[in-house]
Point group: C2
Chain length 123, copies 2
DNA sequence: CAAACGTTTTAAGATAATTTGAAATACTTG
DNA sequence: CAAGTATTTCAAATTATCTTAAAACGTTTG
């Protein structure tokens, strides 16, 4: 990975002080990790889904309760739940007719990152 | 916000122990905050953009250097830079012909959250 | 000032995510 | 087992995001 033909001299100096461009690149996550992270952010990139995540962080819930909280049609809600499930952020157990959703450990971890960040999310 | 007509009894008990559904809802971020958070996650929901973020966390860079790192066409790169700028994750200063991009404080904060999480991102 | 350079913008097309309503599933109860 | 309830799936329509190539912009250099 050569540097471009011309770059600002002070930038070039900084890069050399860090052991060159290859050395810098070796510190950034590989493509597979980046894609995995991107997928998590994607799952959390919708306010409906975030609302579900934050609610489940307080209290596990059947779909009919989530429906009430979000004022969504079942089919729409189910679509969003599926996305959160696919990202391994939530899980559920069947209880008779009910599906009781709750956060996975990973989901809990992510929500708590957001909570810590919430002051900063305001910028 | 009434509870649904029928929900599992043990869930209902949990909710009452937490002071009722209204009390639980009062702990979740308001719609505006949720949308802001969703927007940040959206900006970070693409592996190209994450790569740029992680690179800039190591080293500020002109667009031509980022082009080299990402193997992207300028127009495509510029599109993604614009999204990161709009989310206030990166900024730049002009230096002659060059635009030198770097993370904002907020951007740095977000990348560092991701880094801390990277072990968990693997699940 | 013309040519070159680094970068951004634009508009069109391609792809992906979301919404909607209807139908399907699966469990429970009378 | 028929009817009811909770939930999911499906396919079609809508909307949002991403990609591409060409053109435009502003700065520098000969």
């Amino acid at each position: 990975m050569p540097l471009p033909d011309n770059i600002p001299a002070d930038m070039e100096r900084e890069i050399n002080e860090k052991g060159g461009i290859e050395s810098i690149i070796s510190n950034i996550p590989d493509e597979k990790s980046l894609e995995k992270m991107a997928g998590i952010h994607q799952a959390l990139s919708d306010s409906i889904r975030l609302k579900i995540m934050f609610f489940l962080h307080e209290q596990r819930a059947c779909v009919c309760l989530l429906r009430q909280i979000t004022s969504l049609a079942y089919s729409k809600l189910s679509y969003h739940l599926k996305i959160l499930r696919a990202a391994d952020l939530i899980t559920y157990e069947k209880n008779g007719n009910y599906a009781i959703y709750s956060l996975t450990d990973f989901g809990r971890f992510c929500v708590e990152k957001c909570v810590t960040a919430s002051g900063n999310y305001k910028r």
